[in-house]
C-alpha cells in the first residue's frame, strides 16, 4: 500500500502547479493548463511506478491501474471544485448572497441576473464560449445547433433518460 504515495504525490504536485499558474500567470482559459498538468503528471506517475514495481505480475498491474485512477480522480475533484464551486452557478449565487446583503431577496436577485441586452448574465457568459467552441451558432438573437452541439445534446438527453434526471440543468 506504500504504492499509494505515488498518486498522493502526483495530486499534490497538480494542486501546487495549478495554484501557481492561476495566481501568477492568470490564464484566460485555465482548463488547458489543468489538462496539460494532469496528463503530464499521470505519465510521470506511471513512469515512477514502473521503475519501482515493474509490471511483471497482475498485482503490479492492478496497483498501477488503481494508482493512476486515484490520481486522476483526485485531480478531477480539484478541477471540478475549481469550476463547479468557484465558477459554478450555485457557488456564484452563494458568493453574491454572502457579499451583497441587498441581494438577499428573490426578486432583487433575479433582477441582478437579467441583462440589459438580449441575453441575461447566465447566457451572456456561456453563449460566446459555446459559439467559439462550435457547439452553437449565434445568428443575431437566434441560436442554432450544429452537428457538434447535437452530438453533445443527444448524449446529455440519453443520460437524462438513463438516470431519470428529468431535464437536468440543476432544475428539480
Amino acid at each position: 500500500m506504500i504504492r499509494l504515495a505515488v498518486p498522493l504525490a502526483g495530486a499534490s504536485a497538480f494542486f501546487l502547479v495549478s495554484l501557481i499558474t492561476v495566481r501568477l500567470l492568470r490564464p484566460a482559459d485555465p482548463k488547458r493548463f489543468f489538462l496539460g498538468y494532469g496528463s503530464a503528471l499521470l505519465a510521470v506517475a506511471a513512469y515512477v511506478y514502473v521503475q519501482l514495481w515493474p509490471l511483471e505480475t497482475i498485482d503490479a498491474a492492478a496497483g498501477l491501474t488503481a494508482c493512476l485512477l486515484l490520481q486522476a480522480l483526485i485531480c478531477l475533484t480539484m478541477w471540478n471544485a475549481f469550476y463547479s464551486l468557484l465558477w459554478g452557478f450555485s457557488g456564484g449565487l452563494m458568493h453574491d448572497l454572502y457579499n451583497h446583503a441587498a441581494l438577499r431577496d428573490i426578486d432583487r436577485l433575479v433582477r441582478s441576473y437579467q441583462g440589459t441586452g438580449g441575453f441575461d448574465r447566465i447566457l451572456a457568459r456561456r453563449l460566446p464560449n459555446l459559439a467559439a467552441g462550435g457547439f452553437i451558432e449565434l445568428q443575431g438573437q437566434t441560436l442554432r445547433l450544429p452537428w457538434k452541439g447535437r452530438v453533445i445534446a443527444w448524449g446529455t438527453l440519453a443520460a437524462f433518460k438513463a438516470f431519470s434526471l428529468g431535464m437536468g440543468g440543476g432544475v428539480k
Binding site: 452557478f89 453533445i152 431519470s164 440543476g170
Partner: protein, 167 residues
C-alpha cells in the same frame, strides 16, 4: 494480465451504472448522487471477490485491495460524470435547442423554456433544502451558518485563484 484487468474495470463500471440506472428509475425523486455513493460502497465486496467471480483464480490480498480501490475510484468518476447532465446549465441549453422545432431558438424563447427566474428559484430551493439558506414567505433570503461558511469559502477561493467575476 491486461485482459484480466480490463474485465475487472468493465465489470465494475457496468455493475455501478446499471444498478444506479435501475434504482433511479425505481425512485425517481431520489438523490442520484446518494444512489451512486450507496451503490459504490455496497458493491465494493464484489470487487474483493472479483478474482474468483470474474477471473476464476485466487489472487493475493494486495491485488484484491487494488481491485477494491479501482472500483471505488470508478465510482468517484461516475459521481463526477453525473454532475454534467444533472447540473450543467450549458448542457441544458444544448438540450433545449435539440428538442426545439428546427433545433433553433431565439434568446427570448430560450428564456421562456429555461430562464433566469426558473434557474435561480430552483437553485435557491435546492440550497434551502440543503440548509444553506432559508427563504421566508415574502421572498427574503437568510443565510444559515452553513450557507455563510459556503459563501466565505467561495469568496476566499475566488480571491485565492483571482477569479474576478463568474456566473
Amino acid at each position: 494480465m491486461l485482459t484480466s484487468l480490463a474485465i475487472v474495470v468493465i465489470a465494475s463500471v457496468a455493475c455501478q451504472v446499471l444498478l444506479v440506472a435501475a434504482l433511479s428509475a425505481w425512485r425517481r425523486a431520489g438523490n442520484v448522487y446518494r444512489t451512486i455513493v450507496v451503490v459504490c460502497f455496497i458493491t465494493v465486496p464484489l470487487a474483493w471477490f472479483a478474482d474468483r467471480l470474474l477471473l476464476g483464480q485466487v489472487l493475493d490480498r494486495d491485488t484484491r485491495l487494488f481491485f477494491m480501490l479501482i472500483h471505488l475510484a470508478l465510482g468517484g468518476f461516475f459521481f463526477h460524470f453525473m454532475t454534467l447532465p444533472d447540473r450543467s446549465v450549458t448542457l441544458r441549453i444544448l438540450v433545449e435547442l435539440l428538442v426545439a422545432p428546427g433545433q433553433a431558438l431565439t434568446a427570448k424563447e430560450l428564456g421562456r423554456r429555461y430562464g433566469v427566474k426558473t434557474m435561480i428559484t430552483s437553485r435557491l430551493e435546492q440550497l434551502s433544502a440543503g440548509r444553506f439558506l432559508a427563504i421566508d414567505g415574502s421572498g427574503r433570503i437568510e443565510l444559515t451558518a452553513k450557507g455563510a461558511w459556503f459563501g466565505r469559502f467561495v469568496t476566499a477561493g475566488r480571491k485565492l485563484f483571482r477569479i474576478a467575476s463568474a456566473n
